[in-house]
Each structure stands twice: as C-alpha cells, then as structure tokens.
C-alpha cells in the first residue's frame, strides 16, 4: 500500500526554487497497475524515485505499507529497496563488466545469499524471461530488448511487491517493447504493484489507472482503457482535478 500526502519536491537553484512536484496526494493499492504520463519535465521520474525510496519528498508524507518513509534510517531504506521494490530504467543500467547471469544475481549479493543459490535462482529468472541461452553474455552482446529483459529479471529476483518502471520501452522498437510489456503484465498478474512511467498511449492503456502530471501537479486521473492519444490527454488540464 502506497500513500503519498501533499508531497512536494523542491530543488533550490541559486535563489530560485523549482518545484518538480507540487502537492501530490495519491493512494495506490497493492496489486494496482498504474501508468504515469505527462510532458517531459513534468515530474514523472521524480515521483517514481520518491515512491522507490531513492529520493525523499521535500515536504509531505509518504507511507509505504503504513510506515512513514521519512522516519526510516538509510540502512532501512536500503533494505526496502532490496526486498520490496524493483526498478526498471529506460537506459537498462546493467553493469557492463558482468554477464547477464551475474547482473541478475547482483541484488542477491547484497542479501548475503550464497553463490550456489544465487546462480541457480538467477538462471531460473533468466529462463523466465526467455534468456537462458544468454546467461554468460555481457550486456554489450545483447540487444536492447534482451537487456531490458535481463533488467526485469534482476528487478524481480528478490520478489518485490512493487515494480517501478521509468519509460521501460523508451529505447526499444515496437517488437521488443511488446515483449517487455508482456513480461510486465505477467508480473502484474502475479500480484505485483506495477507503476510505469510512459509517453506511449499504448503502454498506458494497459494500466488500470493513469495519472497525468503537468508541471509537478497531478492534473488528471484517467482510466487506462480510455487513453486515446497524447494530444487530448496533455492538452486540457482540468482546472480543479
């Protein structure tokens, strides 16, 4: 259960204040599938990073499963990121010197899981994303779609309850993007809360709910299936939500 209340994220640049998020309140139930949309610079990534405990709101409250995140120690936040949250990035962010298997196994290293078990679990996870044959290939030898599937295997290896994806298909062609979306849908059906930042109406349509951000504010809530095109979605922010 994710619950943010009146959160702001403010960057101070010189004597100017820049509000990446303004007064955002939202509740996301376990197992929901949410899409976050909005023009570039509207605060989508900022919101996602805060939800993933990578960043903290400047003001307001963020409760994850009933616990106030602001009160947690840095080490507790690391544990939450390790066990509860899976991140997927537009730029994949695989470690270039590690092969696919080792990349998937990486989070388990931080949990002190012994090598043999890591190896076995990572191999199974690669199998689940259809990359068992690519286990000992380095990221440079993989296509974009394959890289993102390795990243998904890595993000889910610790069995997180929340999966956060920041434009996961942004760097992919339609075909491999489709494969990635299918994997994400599958994970959502297994019970994970899935929050996807996207520009693509086709991606957003898969979500149950769509949050539309404008200039740091959530300006609209839309049912995923009703998303048609960006023009109508972004052009006319509702004045009072």
């Amino acid at each position: 259960m994710i619950r943010v209340e009146d959160i702001w994220r403010t960057y101070t640049m010189g004597d100017q204040e820049l509000h990446a998020l303004r007064d955002v309140s939202e509740e996301i139930a376990d197992g929901e599938h949410i899409a976050i949309m909005g023009p570039s610079g509207s605060g989508k990534s900022t919101l996602l990073n805060i939800l993933g405990c990578l960043d903290r709101p400047s003001r307001g409250s963020y409760q994850l499963d009933g616990r106030e995140v602001a009160t947690l120690e840095p080490d507790e936040l690391s544990r939450i990121r390790l066990h509860r949250i899976g991140f997927i990035f537009q730029a994949f962010h695989l470690v270039p010197r590690l092969n696919a298997l080792a990349n998937v196994a990486l989070p388990m290293v931080f949990d002190g899981i012994p090598p043999a078990e890591r190896h076995e679990r990572a191999a199974r996870a690669l199998d689940a994303v259809g990359l068992e044959r690519w286990a000992d290939h380095r990221p440079s030898e993989l296509s974009g779609g394959q890289k993102q599937r390795v990243a998904i295997a890595r993000a889910t290896i610790m069995g997180p309850s929340v999966l956060l994806a920041d434009e996961p298909t942004g760097n992919l062609d339609t075909h491999s993007g489709g494969q990635v979306l299918e994997l994400l849908d599958e994970l959502h059906q297994q019970g994970m809360t899935l929050i996807v930042v996207t520009h693509d109406p086709n991606v957003a349509r898969r979500a149950g709910r769509v949050l539309v951000l404008h200039d740091g504010e959530v300006t609209r809530h839309v049912v995923g299936a009703s998303v048609t095109d960006l023009a109508t979605l972004f052009a006319q922010p509702e004045p009072g939500k």
Binding site: L106, F110, G112
Partner: protein, 400 residues
C-alpha cells in the same frame, strides 16, 4: 554482504582495468622494494659490523695510533702521531697489572711465492696470542712460537686458501716460501676461518710481529689489543692506557677503544641509517598512496552510474564504501606483495654478489610491508570510497 563477496566484486571490477590497476599498484611496489632492500642493506651492514666486532670477545682494549676523532682533530691533522711501537706495547703490558694478554698487530700486503707460484696476500704480523683473540684453528703444523716479541724469526703461518694455491694438497709445513723479499719457512696452516673484521683469514699469512715490521720497513704497529682480566673497570683501564702513552709520547696521540663502545656506537649509527632509509621509503609510499587515491577517484567518477544502480538495487552506503575501499586495499596490497617479491629477489642477488654481507630484510620490515601497504590502501582509499558511498542515487543514475 560478506567481506568475501566484497572482495570478489572488487577484484572483478579491478580486473576490468588491468593496465590501470597495474600502473597504480606499481607505485606501491616501488615503495616497498625501496623499504625492503634498503632496510635489508642497512640491517645487513649493522649485522656485519656487530658480528665482526663481537667475534673479538669482551674485555678487550684496542689501542690505535692517532687521536680519537671525537676530541676534534682528525688523525693526521695537527701533527703526525708518533709511532705506536713494540716498545710502547711492551710498556703497556708491563705497567698495567690488569693486562692478561697483549697482542701487537701490524699488517700490510705483499706477495708470497713458492717455486714458480706466487700470490698477493695480506701479511699480518703478530704474536702467538693472536691465535687466541681471533679464535683461529690450525690444521697443520703449529701457530707462531711463544716467547720474545722482538725476535722476529723467519717463519710463516699460511691461510688455508693460500696453502692450497701454493702447495696443492702437499703438506707445506717445513717448506720454504718467499714473502716479499724474505725467505721464510712455513710452520703451520690455518683452518678455514672465513672473513673476520673485514679480513679473509683464508687469504692471509701470519708472521711474527717483529718480522712483519722489518719486512714492511716500518716502526709503527697498526694496533695493540689488550686483553684485560675479567671484571676489570674498562674505563679506568682505558684512562691508565692513555696516561701511560701520553707520558711516553709527550702528547695524547693514540686512541683507545673498548669493544663495547665501538660496537654500540657503530650499531647505533647503522640503526639510525636503517630508520632514515625506512623514512625515505615511507615518503615514496605516501606518493604511491596518492597515486592509488587518484586512480580510485577516477574509478568512482567513471562508475557513478553503477554506484547509483547498486543503491537502487538495495546496496547500503556501507556496502558501497566497502567495495571501493577494498579495491584500493587490493591494489596497494598487491603492489606490496609484488614489491616484497622483487625486493627479496634483489637482496638474494646482492648476497650472491657479496656473500660477506648478511643482508636480509629484518622481520619487522617484512611484517611492515603488509601493514604499510594495507594501511596505504585504507588511508588513501577512504576518501574515494566515502565519496562513492555518499553519492545521491538519483543524480548518480543520471550520470554518463
């Protein structure tokens, strides 16, 4: 994340930049080679000197011509010292009741020949007691005869190697040899003794002191060794020696050393030298450490995105710190071990070239290598590692 896992992860990361890693650890290697070989040399010199002097035994006073340099004047400056003659030696023996044994010594080089074989040797002139203070053994014949010091019989005792070179396996005892221009008779052969106080007794010949002085055409002894009764006050005896000699020479123109004093001052000087050398080496290690720090800072900035990712995946700040710190420690320790190996090799080479020098790195230096290289990595790795651990994950992920 266990230390073993950190080690594996860090080691793997270092392996990606083999050349850079190697270059940065070479600094430590050079520093450690300096520490090891220089301290080994210093320690070797110290041991060499103390070994030599302690083989003399205690309770010895050594009288040498020329004034003690600690009184200001260098020997030879401010007047040529009077000869230290055999008469002086005999006077000391007579006038000092605490003297048990008096051994006059003279030395020079010359040739010794038998038939057509000839050899350049060190000629030592002394008395029968020389054998005891130097702890020499005889394999054949006998040592110098006891008795009147100034008689100067034409007899010679050969060092083992000289005997072999002139006579092969024949018995030289009773055979005539020519020492310089002098015809002498071999009366004995020394057992192998090796180098002692910088003199290889195997390559020396020993003649009666009066013979030696005549042969070298001089009056002055090189030194007089006085063996005192046990439990005698060395300082008091020393003052009496100086008094007697001042009276005989009308000035204080001799130096009187006790073995203990020589030993401790030489040992102190050489130990200081070893420490100075270790200090210089320490400076070079600091430079090496800064090199490692720079490489690690570069590594951290190159891997900023990776740090962000590791944090997003759930690594704690402490784990990030450990990863980069261990990388630095791995670098410096590898450099240290390499330096230890190379330093050791150098010392072996040196000892092979100069077997007389018992150069080996002191144990403390070997242990210090590990401590120092480990410490270098830790001290100079802290800043980069701390920087990495403090990186803001969101900003770090956006890097590159």
């Amino acid at each position: 994340m266990s230390w073993l896992e950190v080690l594996r992860f860090s080691g793997h990361a270092l392996g990606q930049h083999r050349r850079r890693s190697l270059l940065s650890l070479l600094g430590v290697t050079i520093g450690i080679v300096a520490v090891i070989s220089l301290t080994a040399l210093g320690e070797g010199a110290r041991r060499y000197v103390t070994d030599q002097f302690s083989s003399l035994g205690s309770g010895l006073l050594i009288v040498i011509p020329g004034r003690n340099e600690t009184t200001g004047a260098l020997p030879g400056i401010g007047g040529v010292p009077n000869d230290l003659t055999l008469d002086d030696a005999r006077a000391l023996e007579r006038q000092l009741p605490e003297v048990v044994t008096m051994v006059p010594i003279t030395a020079g080089s010359g040739s010794v020949s038998h038939l057509e074989r000839s050899r350049q040797v060190l000629i030592i002139g002394s008395t029968s007691d020389f054998r005891r203070v130097r702890e020499l053994q005889i394999t054949r014949g006998r040592f110098l005869p006891t008795g009147e010091v100034s008689r100067g019989a034409p007899v010679v005792v050969l060092g083992r190697k000289i005997a072999r070179e002139l006579f092969d396996e024949q018995n030289p005892v009773g055979q005539p040899v020519r020492v310089g221009d002098w015809r002498m008779r071999v009366i004995g052969v020394l057992a192998t003794r090796g180098t002692q106080m910088g003199v290889d007794m195997d390559e020396a010949v020993i003649v009666p002191v009066a013979t030696g002085l005549r042969m070298m055409n001089r009056n002055s002894l090189m030194r007089i060794i006085l063996q005192l009764r046990p439990q005698v006050d060395m300082e008091k005896a020393k003052r009496r020696v100086l008094a007697i000699m001042s009276e005989r020479h009308d000035e204080e123109d001799i130096t009187c050393l006790t073995q203990e004093a020589v030993l401790s001052s030489l040992s102190a000087i050489l130990r200081t030298l070893t420490l100075v050398v270790a200090g210089i080496a320490g400076v070079s290690l600091t430079v090496a450490g800064i090199g490692i720090m720079n490489v690690m800072l570069v590594s951290v900035s190159e891997r900023t995105a990776e740090v962000g990712l590791l944090k997003a995946l759930g690594a704690s700040g402490r784990e990030i710190l450990a990863i980069f710190l261990i990388e630095a420690v791995l670098l410096s320790t590898a450099g240290g071990v390499l330096g230890l190996a190379i330093g050791w090799l150098l010392i072996d080479l040196l000892v092979a070239l100069y077997p007389a020098l018992p150069a080996s790195p002191p144990l403390w230096a070997v242990l210090a290598v590990f401590g120092v290289s480990f410490g270098t990595g830790t001290v100079f790795g802290v800043l980069p590692a701390w920087r990495a651990s403090r990186l803001d994950p969101v900003a770090a992920l956006a890097a590159r």
